[in-house]
Point group: C2
């Protein structure tokens, strides 16, 4: 087990009607608030009004910036930064899913920075100060509600890049499973895939003595797998929605990282796809993860055997562990298919046109991954395997 620091201060407020306390939770951080959100869905659902009323009850002055899109753009972030600087905003409230929260995090850091906010994503600048952030979560998927990271797309060159700082962790996150009832099944499935991918990135590590985190990963994966079909077939099943929502946070709050170094190649490989093609991040992961597994499993067959056995209940074939390992990968692929995810690039009409370019771009700063280090030619082979 490696040395680690686990430092997650996000207060999780979970359950029915909890969005009604957003005002009292926010006012602790100041009286001038930027309300950040995506499209019209929060207005249609009534959530927008509930939030606004709760904020007004606390006499909070509310500035607004809507319009966050999936794969949030740096242009809108820059707009938010300007808004915050010009109006001396104290606090940013993100109401939405991972894209809105990621956008809010970038704005929060940019608001306290003299240079261009994109600097954080190129390594040119570091986050040393940040406005506090709160979250009302509507899409369980990205885990951004209590993570320290953000992923932003720069339209100028279609770069999708991640950065992180403990300062970016939200102060609180309100998770009401009822708010996820209206998510279309495809988006629900993308969320399920995304949270599973967050765990898998951590699970495939070269660290040998991480039994507790291995088992916590397996526990969370099993819970997601057991509830995924229910939330898709019965969108208003509170208990299943609650399991998925809480699992999505646990998957990415860094608990499952403790004592180990995760891989993260699949996320980077996928980012190139959704950076160019604008497909859902979850769908891209459902395509890339099994392909990545097929490419790397021989590096540590035992770990893939453990995955097959403990997560998918595949019996271990002691005479042929490779068969067990491959059966686990197959189970994952079949599961993604069963919840309506694509598992090949063909299914989403992506051909090999940009493979070389994407592989090059993904690895231009450093080789990807930690479980196995991947260079451009490896990444291109994974795109091929994903066809």
């Amino acid at each position: 087990m490696q040395n680690f620091t686990f430092d997650n201060k996000t207060k999780i407020i979970f359950g029915k009607d909890k969005e009604q306390v957003v005002g009292e939770e926010s006012v602790v951080y100041g009286k001038k608030l930027l309300l950040h959100y995506g499209g019209g869905s929060i207005k249609e659902s009534g959530l927008y009004d509930t939030v606004l009323n709760s904020l007004k009850e606390q006499n909070i002055e509310v500035y607004e910036l809507g319009g966050v899109k999936p794969n949030p753009r740096v242009s809108l972030v820059r707009e938010g930064v300007t808004l915050c600087k010009e109006n001396n905003i104290d606090f940013i409230l993100a109401v939405g899913g991972g894209s809105v929260i990621d956008s809010a995090k970038a704005i929060a850091a940019g608001a306290k920075y003299d240079g261009d906010v994109w600097d954080f994503f190129t390594g040119k600048g570091a986050v040393t100060e940040c406005l506090p952030i709160g979250v009302v979560l509507t899409i369980p998927a990205a885990g951004s509600e209590s993570s320290a990271g953000t992923v932003i797309t720069n339209e100028d060159g279609d770069y999708k890049r991640a950065t992180g700082s403990l300062l970016m962790r939200p102060q609180f996150a309100i998770l009401n499973p009822v708010l996820t009832y209206t998510l279309p099944s495809y988006q629900t499935a993308c969320g399920v895939t995304d949270m599973m991918a967050h765990i898998l990135e951590r699970y495939f590590t070269n660290e040998k003595n991480v039994e507790l985190t291995d088992r916590l990963c397996e526990a969370t994966l099993k819970t997601i797998i057991n509830n995924a079909h229910t939330v898709i077939e019965e969108p208003t099943n509170y208990d299943a929605r609650a399991e998925i929502m809480w699992a999505g946070t646990i998957a990415h709050n860094d608990l499952l990282d403790t004592g180990r170094i995760g891989d993260w190649a699949s996320h980077d490989i996928e980012h190139e796809i959704s950076g160019i093609y604008d497909i859902a991040h979850g769908a891209g992961l459902a395509i890339i993860f099994p392909a990545w597994m097929k490419y790397v499993y021989k590096h540590d067959i035992n770990r893939f055997v453990q995955f097959a056995n403990r997560v998918w209940d595949v019996e271990i074939d002691l005479n042929n562990p490779e068969k067990t390992a491959l059966a686990g990968i197959k189970k994952l692929e079949q599961f993604f298919s069963s919840i309506g995810m694509p598992v090949s690039l063909k299914e989403v009409d992506i051909n090999d046109e940009h493979f070389t370019e994407m592989a090059k771009k993904a690895t231009e700063r450093w080789p990807l991954g930690n479980f196995v280090k991947l260079h451009a030619d490896d990444v291109e082979k994974i795109y091929q395997l994903a066809r």
Copy 2:
């Protein structure tokens, strides 16, 4: 799943040599520090010097209060409160195990309270302010290093009582598994039992839809069970010590509480024993928990079947689930025995002399437990089952 708030701000600093950063972690909270500890073991091991040097490097003025005993006494807490008030202490550093940390928490709250500190334990006073606390942990067991609770014994009447407040959660906890190498095997086993009991108290709940927390509980229990014999047989096995140490924190940091109401009767039933007889808390729990289980399992046989199957790999006998449930309880009892714990009061020379009195005292404020509500006569029967 019930609504919940999960709010744990304790920063965990885990790994080899991490006690060396205690000065820089502490100085954030002020320059006048109370160093609180137990007996001479931290001086013999050199930990005392390491901590003191690290504090002095930050020019922290150190006041000292040693002498904390297992089942920490309110008399020493009162001494600490006076010390803090007279010297305007900013921060309390607990170096030791659960007793030292619990004592530090009571002092921290008492230092900001006008009345007598025992008021917090009788319900007469509430914690509304508290000095910040830091921890260097030497005994993985109580989980007090990131919990919000404390248990103190009042010698005047042999009362052992618990209280809690989010304000009491330590700001940071330093966990170096190497510091636990010198723990005698009996104490190690007591710690293992204590942390398992913390999970079991949460596991046996009437809440039906808590799959994620159930599985996280099972993951942590399995890890403890798998590593317990190793830490006893090979006290300097870093990896096993690390698993046990991290599991002890997870067991009691409230993550495994989310969405459910735990039971906690067994802790209260045990407190009466260790309040009178001064036996180790862990040993008392190894005796009481199986007895409690035998008394209540019929209330929800399926939950005990799940426990037997998922934690102990007992095959489910569908024609006789009761048999499976009892097999799980038996496995737990055998496990406690196998690590050198007593599983009956006889083994620790406790006869039935005080059963009626202890049962009455345990239930004098309210009936115990949530899974099943227990009154004095129930508790007395559990003491009888534990003979």
